[in-house]
């Protein structure tokens, strides 16, 4: 028979005032915690790995491959990469790993990405942990105040991400050389770089800001047929934004790890031709 018959007048949320008197914060019976737990584990693993590699300042170049974490390399303390992505913009005063300079941009792009926002709001901040599962916070202002209002700069990180993806494309072209910098060769690393750059571009282009910029902001698609087609193309990719976000995160880590293994002498890059 009826249980828990007193309404919880004092508490907020689903137990507030005149709502149905149910004391449980949620009544879901499925494994709702699995998705946020897996997401948190995946993101945490990447953060640990990328922090180690970004600060390592070693084993990031094995001709002709340069780690995507260190490209472009913008300080004097970078290793010299023949015809590679070296640009000594920061000079000699930069003392720590040069990866830190450039990683700000892809990090900012992913941190303000609409998919990753959903992922970490749910899995790290439990806001909400899952649909119809009560969040533990007393107050909520969303993205209306500092610092979360800064999420609105996502499109600027998108522009920066385009430039970084351009440099990584250049690195992939350079990977069609052998260890003596002769063109027309290919190794397993070239394949790893090719897969990575395709996924990086697919993730970057499928961004919601990109979808808005290429055509979403228009009121009349019929007056802009080229932009309409571009918007449709980006929209199709955008439907896969989550999958592309994870695939490109994994591929960029794998590309870096491959360079690490070759540069640290664990194995020699298998050459196809």
């Amino acid at each position: 028979m009826a249980t828990g018959t007193e309404p919880q007048r004092d508490s907020g949320g689903v137990r507030a005032g005149t709502r149905a008197a149910i004391t449980a914060p949620h009544l879901r019976t499925d494994r709702w915690w699995l998705a946020p737990a897996v997401t948190a584990a995946g993101l945490f693993a990447f953060v640990v790995y990328s922090t180690w590699r970004a600060f390592a300042d070693a084993h990031y170049y094995a001709a002709p491959y340069v780690s995507p974490f260190y490209s472009p390399c913008l300080a004097e303390n970078c290793r010299t990469m023949r015809a590679g992505p070296n640009a000594d913009l920061f000079g000699g005063w930069w003392g720590i790993s040069p990866a830190i300079i450039i990683l700000i941009f892809p990090l900012g792009f992913r941190l303000t990405c609409y998919y990753y926002r959903k992922a970490y709001y749910r899995s790290f901040w439990a806001s909400p942990p899952a649909c119809a599962v009560a969040e533990p916070h007393r107050g909520y202002t969303g993205e209306t105040r500092f610092p979360l209002i800064l999420q609105n700069v996502h499109r600027y990180f998108f522009y920066a991400a385009i430039l970084v993806a351009g440099v990584l494309t250049y690195d992939t072209v350079l990977s069609f050389r052998d260890t003596h910098y002769r063109w027309g060769h290919m190794g397993l690393g070239t394949l790893v770089f090719l897969v990575n750059i395709v996924l990086i571009w697919a993730y970057t282009i499928s961004c919601h800001s990109c979808r808005h910029i290429v055509g979403g902001k228009l009121k009349h698609f019929s007056r802009h047929p080229v932009r309409y087609r571009a918007w449709q193309f980006v929209g199709r990719l955008n439907a896969r934004h989550m999958q592309l976000a994870w695939a490109s995160l994994l591929s960029v880590a794998l590309a870096d790890f491959y360079v690490y293994l070759v540069a640290s002498g664990v194995f020699a890059d298998p050459r196809f031709f």
Binding site: A2, L27, T29
Partner: protein, 254 residues
């Protein structure tokens, strides 16, 4: 045709209090949760209050929470549950309860009134509107909404924070703002109404943290977050947070 006895827990009560009541009830092949609630009314609880109408997923009346998930009772097949499972049915938990499974969804009508209506284009009379299909495709997706208010119920901004109700329109009505802002003939801008800015300033778009629960529960499969809320956020960025777009629009106006 096979049948079995299912265990149900149905919330019964009103604003003064209530709780989950246990029932054991017959279930036949092909039935949905609403059928079972009707059988309970017919056989065991004749005063059980439930709002329903079309039984076809088009009127949006029979919204409830089934095993803690906001769903339409008429579109939830019994076959998706294990026969040994106890099925819990409660009213929507974001709105004040009236009685049993019926809630007061007046919050949504209040929010609907706060969204300024379509502004007819000057110089065009009824029957003279002409629009290209590609210009209205986006809005037509949003017109599939049956106003079941499951998205409003699941949105944690108001579900978990009653104090946000005055300042936040919720996904259904932010989608309405997006629909009007994308409408090829809406002349709001000519009358000085900036829907992009209003979405942020008047309807609380910034409260949305795009966690996509509205999209997950939508029985019409509308991609509310990707196609309405995020594009609206980007449009608000054009107005409020992007100095280059702001500068470009100033120059173009001259």
């Amino acid at each position: 045709m096979s049948s079995y006895e299912a265990r149900f827990k149905v919330w019964r009560g009103d604003a003064e209090g209530g709780g989950l009541t246990d029932f054991t009830v017959e279930v036949n092949d092909g039935e949905v949760v609403l059928d079972i609630i009707h059988r309970l009314q017919a056989t065991q609880a004749p005063d059980l209050a439930v709002r329903w109408n079309c039984k076809a997923g088009k009127c949006g009346s029979c919204s409830a929470e089934i095993n803690g998930r906001p769903r339409l009772m008429c579109m939830t097949r019994m076959s998706v549950f294990d026969r040994s499972e106890t099925i819990t049915v409660t009213p929507l938990r974001a709105f004040p309860v009236v009685r049993d499974l019926v809630t007061d969804v007046g919050f949504n009508y209040q929010k609907a009134r706060e969204v300024p209506a379509f502004v007819p284009p000057p110089g065009l009379g009824p029957g003279e509107y002409r629009m290209m299909q590609e210009d209205v495709d986006r809005s037509q997706e949003f017109r599939k909404c049956i106003e079941c208010f499951l998205c409003q119920d699941v949105c944690h901004v108001v579900r978990d924070h009653e104090e946000n109700k005055p300042v936040y329109a919720g996904p259904r009505f932010l989608m309405r703002v997006a629909e009007l802002d994308m409408h090829p003939l809406d002349a709001a801008a000519e009358t000085g109404l900036d829907r992009k800015r209003a979405a942020q300033d008047e309807h609380g778009l910034g409260y949305c943290n795009i966690t996509k629960c509205c999209t997950e529960v939508c029985p019409e499969g509308i991609r509310i977050t990707d196609n309405a809320l995020i594009p609206l956020k980007e449009r608000a960025v054009d107005r409020k947070y992007d100095p280059l777009v702001w500068l470009g629009s100033k120059i173009r106006r001259r």
